[in-house]
């Protein structure tokens, strides 16, 4: 009798699993075609001496491509640039996004309109935004220099994207402008799911606003923030378009993605290019794994 019920429920679970697989099948198929297959091919090519012009003629050369890659100081500079860009821009976007989300979530006048307006930068394609900023930052005709000159801060236009020490901050600033709305949106969604009643209890119990923020809002919001940060991390680590448009030839802002493309397209070297792409993929995978592990650990420690 009991085992019969068990059997039946097992059968039911299997049937459910089978249904689930049927539903997943189309997307798995597409995923294989557009992601897994190219990824596998890239991985294979990274052990060959293939050239982009004749990808069908190649021989396996073991780890030579990786050796060449890891001996190239420019690769390591790209890695440093990418990590620097990622850490700084995602940090700023998180803090800024959280601040704006908190403001929009409070009962200020006109927040409905604000919510719509704030999304505009994010809804513009990155290449368009980048071009727009390129013009605004132009050393002779750009509005930024124009305003600064009018205000008397500078005498002659600054070459924002040509100056080695300015170009990375500029790219980070533009990225912050573009993607902070995304952060705001995700964090705002998290904020609106927080239980309202606990703040009334806290108000009655005399919990000051800052402590409500650190002890209630932040821990309860942590999962939302963590997901938003993860999305941004993945995005920032493979950043290509912004750097490419704003300062395509500068080594100071070369990201690993630009490096990989350069080797592949400019030098026609499919082997090293594939090795670089594989390395980018591994880098992102490792960072994500570390992040997810740390966050899970943190949650357990904090007891969130």
């Amino acid at each position: 009798m009991v085992s019969g019920v068990l059997m039946k429920s097992l059968g039911l679970r299997q049937a459910r699993a089978r249904t689930a697989w049927w539903f997943l099948a189309p997307s798995l198929l597409v995923l294989t075609a557009v992601a897994l297959w190219p990824l596998g091919r890239t991985f294979v090519f990274s052990f060959t001496d293939a050239l982009l012009t004749e990808p069908d003629f190649y021989s396996y050369i073991g780890f030579d491509n990786y050796r060449a890659l890891f001996e190239d100081p420019l690769w390591w500079q790209s890695v440093r640039n990418t990590l620097y860009f990622t850490v700084i821009s995602v940090s700023i976007e998180t803090v800024l996004g959280l601040t704006i989300a908190l403001l929009l979530n409070s009962h200020i006048a006109g927040r409905g309109a604000m919510r719509a307006i704030i999304l505009i930068p994010w809804s513009i394609p990155v290449v368009v935004s980048a071009r727009m900023w390129q013009w605004m930052l132009h050393d002779q005709f750009g509005i930024v220099n124009h305003v600064l000159k009018m205000a008397g801060f500078i005498d002659s236009g600054i070459a924002w994207t040509a100056n080695a020490s300015l170009v990375m901050p500029v790219i980070i600033a533009v990225d912050v402008w573009i993607t902070t709305p995304f952060m705001v949106l995700l964090i705002l969604a998290g904020l609106q799911m927080l239980p309202r009643g606990i703040y009334e209890v806290a108000a009655i119990d005399g919990v000051p606003a800052w402590k409500q923020f650190t002890s209630l809002t932040l821990p309860l919001l942590a999962p939302s923030i963590a997901v938003a940060v993860l999305f941004r991390l993945l995005d920032a680590l493979r950043m290509f378009d912004l750097s490419f448009v704003l300062s395509s030839n500068s080594d100071d802002t070369k990201t690993v993605s630009i490096y990989a493309r350069e080797v592949l397209v400019n030098f026609q070297d499919m082997g090293v290019g594939s090795a670089a792409s594989t390395a980018v993929f591994l880098m992102i995978a490792v960072v994500t794994a570390i992040y997810v592990t740390v966050f899970r650990l943190n949650r357990r420690l904090l007891g969130v």
Binding site: E200, I204, D205, G303
Partner: protein, 357 residues
């Protein structure tokens, strides 16, 4: 010093007046219950006392001091919500101690007070769990514990038992009564359940459309309801109402109901009225006034039974009788009552009383 004085208190949401000139005094240590149908403004009034809603007009005093502008934390209150509003990411222990932690009490003292309250509410074994790992009743105990731990002099409850099933509700009702008996804190308790009001309250405040319909002890409201609304709200099963006609005479009044006429002490009223009769005041086959009826249905409740009967042309009556009466549907019976048990309401739905001799 935790008595409450409400003077001409008004709450408006935009153009909508939700609380309309409420005057009420809650004595120190008193247990006052706000009852009324959903949407009558009970929660709003309570939240105005707590400081969670602004007071549009009038004055609120607690302990003799004006409190209209005082932030909630400084009103010396503790509040329990219907949703419990426990901190979901904290253990029960930390939920209980959080306010004390904020008030910068020493860790030892916090632990002591938390465990004292936990013992008092029998939730010691739950201290290390999260709210999500508790049953509804346990969550409610924790919510009450969190209010107790700060030893305030004024407790506010907003429908604390509404999310519990019937058994737990009874258990927690007894618990809340015990807490009040032992701590003697002034308590304002909101519910839509008249049974909770009757069993817990020193005094009941019946609210209707943002106004006080009547204030009194449970027995006063039960025995002398001031209006048809209060009469039908207090008591279960609900009071029966029959139409009748009252004729003023010299020295006496004559009441005609369902074709039966009898005399009463003189009441200064002449015309159509409504006669309110509680199911437990009706007598099967007896009483000073008797009218014919037909049995519709008998609901046995064990020790007693509810008899549903039809009188006149389609009027319904419910009557509570002891034991299990041997009645079949459609049986002819007489239903009666003692004259002193009938509640009379005029056309304005207010209670009519015999004129002073």
């Amino acid at each position: 010093m935790s008595g409450i004085d409400l003077t001409d208190v008004v709450k408006r949401f935009g153009a909508l007046t939700v609380i309309d000139k409420v005057n009420l005094r809650v004595g120190e240590g008193e247990f006052v219950v706000f009852v009324g149908p959903s949407g009558c403004g009970k929660s709003t009034l309570l939240r105005m006392i707590a400081g969670l809603e602004e007071i549009s007009d009038g004055e609120l005093q607690i302990g003799g001091k004006r409190m209209n502008e005082t932030p909630p934390a400084e009103r010396g209150i503790a509040m329990v919500f219907q949703s419990y509003a426990l901190y979901p990411h904290m253990s029960v222990e930390r939920n209980l101690g959080f306010a004390l932690e904020t008030a910068r009490l020493a860790a030892g003292e916090i632990k002591e007070r938390v465990s004292k309250v936990a013992r008092f509410l029998k939730i010691e074994h739950l201290l290390h769990r999260r709210p999500a790992q508790l049953s509804g009743g346990q969550q409610q105990r924790v919510a009450i514990g969190r209010a107790l731990v700060r030893s305030q002099k004024l407790f506010l409850f907003d429908e604390p038992l509404s999310n519990l099933d019937a058994d737990l509700r009874m258990e927690m009702r007894v618990e809340i009564a015990r807490i009040h008996r032992e701590l003697k804190a002034t308590t304002v308790y909101v519910t839509h359940d008249q049974l909770e009001a009757m069993t817990l309250a020193d005094r009941i405040v019946v609210l209707k459309d943002g106004r006080i319909a009547q204030v009194g002890t449970p027995m006063e409201l039960y025995e002398r309801p001031a209006s048809k609304f209060v009469a039908s709200f207090i008591g279960a099963p609900r009071m029966n109402f029959l139409p009748g006609t009252l004729r003023r005479d010299t020295g006496a009044s004559r009441l005609e109901v369902m074709g039966v006429t009898h005399t009463l002490d003189r009441i200064d009223y002449d015309g159509e009225i409504s006669i309110g009769l509680r199911p437990e005041d009706l007598i099967l086959g007896g009483g000073e006034v008797q009218i014919p009826a037909q049995v519709l249905l008998v609901e046995p409740l064990g020790g007693e039974a509810l008899v549903h009967a039809r009188v006149g042309d389609g009027q319904m009556l419910v009557m509570k009788v002891q034991g299990k009466p041997d009645l079949r549907p459609n049986a002819d019976i007489t239903v009666g009552w003692m004259r002193s048990k009938a509640h009379l309401f005029g056309a304005d739905e207010l209670a009519l009383r015999a004129a002073e001799a």
